[in-house]
Symmetry: C2
Subunit: 359 residues, 2 copies
């Protein structure tokens, strides 16, 4: 017996919506019900080239999607500056919201989205796909293992890629009116999330931008980094950039062990992913070598991580819709903390690297 | 026909001198001629347990080694606070000097050592062994390859290990009167050197200590980090600690490629070492995977890196001694720059993370 499926509407034809459309199709409890674009023609082409079911509605506006009473949930991959408007309207129209990252231009905007979702009893989740990969849970188990990892001391996260000239000229992610947070909001989002994730979502006591932020001509960040500090002496750093060869790493160091992953955001292969760990690495007596060698762990996932995300989101939506469950606060809480810390990094950048206290 | 051998005297019985004694024995152009310790008995035991040649002289003082006219060169593994005294006396007595790192408590002290060595025509080299590993030259080739690596944008270096309670209580490296620079001078030295090495020994324009420096009760640094910035937008960070599982990494990111090594200071195996590189890593069209996979490179070294260091040092000494060559300035210059930048990190730490300009 096939599962009842949550009906998705997609707002806009962003590049990333191609990946998410496939994820909705792959998710056993979700289906693409509609897409809306300001251009009906563009939406028609998008549907045709992304294996939409033939029954999918094609609309010439976002509003039409939100006004369709059969749409349960919307996926919003619009430029960040438009999130507040469309996430709020969607929630008001009782649509559950799967929202691209960064969730907003600042946490004040995001709080309005959260409030509207709460008021209307709809689920809110951001589209940070790697959180839903079973590999992520396995890595967390290691970090929480007192015997193998000890206690966390530091984290370093990187997400960079080399943007091509077209991206640097035309992509929404470098336009001040569309994605004003630039590389910080785009790739930096994942680094901030990774650091918070590694330290069990404890808020750092302070955030300090690293020297060397690079802005484009329009004043949008294209490369930056920051250092975080917690009360208990744990520290973290991250680096995000549009000017460096593709890299997506987390290194977490504990008193007894360490963990390294080099493709945390998008696994190299979609159906399995690896990470390495080491425990009690020591020099030999003469300090001419060391061991044990780090161990590699491979975790298989039956569905791509983005399809697992859609499945989890749809499970929550179905539970609210059919069983009268409350919304799951965990996801908007994680989004909010990520945005809050990201805002603090931005503030420190604006203040030339002055530490920003989050107490 | 066996090579003429440079006759080494060793000052003191430090733990690290066991590894260097073996290196001198392995180097084809060097031999252990003498060891001096304040305790004649300790020196005798050290010689016996470290395969010294039977002819090796055992002295009850450092002075006796320096007064032996047959000693060509000395290896000085004494606590950092004693470097200035003994390196200067050694140079005055025309002994070539292989000096443990950090080379001094500050660059002012080191300049006195350099000046005395110059005045007396003796070679000075610090004992940063990995610089002499052929793997290091291979990595440098990659970083300089415009096609495969592009232009350097950032570097991150880490050297940490989990010190045991005995180390944290008794080791010279945490004593303010012996190694006042603590973890910064010990493991941080390698990170600073690695960053300078990766950026072709260009001096950064500024150095900023990262928040979260940890001091022991005596006020010695046991964990810290810093960010470097160059005029052309290149940035770097490092982290060094006595409280985190053993890790010795360099990650260098360029516009086209990236390099990663996880055992740069002490290779896991002593006769071969690896590193990984990636060039033009890109997402696939749907951003559901990426490639090409990083490539692993293995470099074989016929002698351990510390024996290669002794061989190179001895080659220079022999050339000065037998052929009247001038001293090689490259090595003291690299030592000086490392110490200079390390001092700036210390200054920034002392000023609670204020950026220190090196212009």
């Amino acid at each position: 017996m096939s599962q009842p499926q949550i009906k998705f509407g997609i707002l806009g034809c962003a590049d990333i919506a191609r990946k998410l459309s496939r994820a909705i199709i792959l998710a056993p409890n979700a289906t693409i019900y509609a897409i809306g674009s300001r251009s009906h023609e563009k939406a028609t082409k998008f549907a045709a080239s992304n294996n939409f079911p033939e029954t999918a509605k094609i609309y010439g506006s976002y509003d039409a999607v939100l006004d369709d009473p059969n749409v349960d949930a919307v996926y919003i991959p619009l430029p960040t500056s438009l999130h507040i408007k469309w996430a709020v309207v969607a929630a008001q129209k009782k649509k559950h919201v799967l929202l691209e990252k960064p969730v907003a231009l600042n946490v004040g905007e995001f709080d309005q989205i959260v409030e509207t979702c709460e008021l209307n009893g709809v689920q809110l989740m951001d589209s940070t796909m790697w959180m839903h990969n079973p590999r992520t849970a396995r890595m967390k188990e290691f970090i929480l293992d007192r015997e193998k990892f000890g206690v966390l001391r530091s984290v370093h996260a990187v997400f960079s890629f080399t943007a091509d000239p077209d991206f640097l000229e035309n992509n929404i992610r470098i336009k001040p009116d569309l994605d004003a947070l630039g590389a910080l909001g785009d790739v930096g989002w994942y680094c901030v999330r990774a650091i918070l994730w590694a330290n069990d979502f404890q808020l750092p006591k302070s955030v300090t931008a690293l020297p060397g932020t690079i802005f484009n001509k329009a004043g949008v960040i294209v490369s930056c980094g920051a250092a975080f500090q917690w009360e208990d002496g744990v520290t973290a750093t991250f680096r995000c950039s549009f000017f460096e060869n593709l890299s997506m790493t987390i290194t977490a160091s504990g008193t007894k062990g360490s963990l390294h992953i080099n493709d945390f955001v998008i696994p190299i292969e979609e159906k399995q992913g690896s990470f390495t760990t080491a425990t009690e690495s020591r020099f030999n007596d003469l300090v001419t070598g060391w061991g044990p060698l780090p161990s590699q762990h491979t975790v298989v996932n039956d569905l791509p991580q983005e399809a697992l995300m859609v499945t989890e989101f749809s499970r929550l939506v179905k539970s609210i819709k059919n069983d009268g469950s409350l919304t799951e606060k965990k996801w908007p809480n994680l989004s909010r903390m990520t945005q809050f810390v990201l805002d603090a990094v931005k503030t420190s950048i604006d203040k030339s690297g002055e530490p920003v206290s989050l107490g």
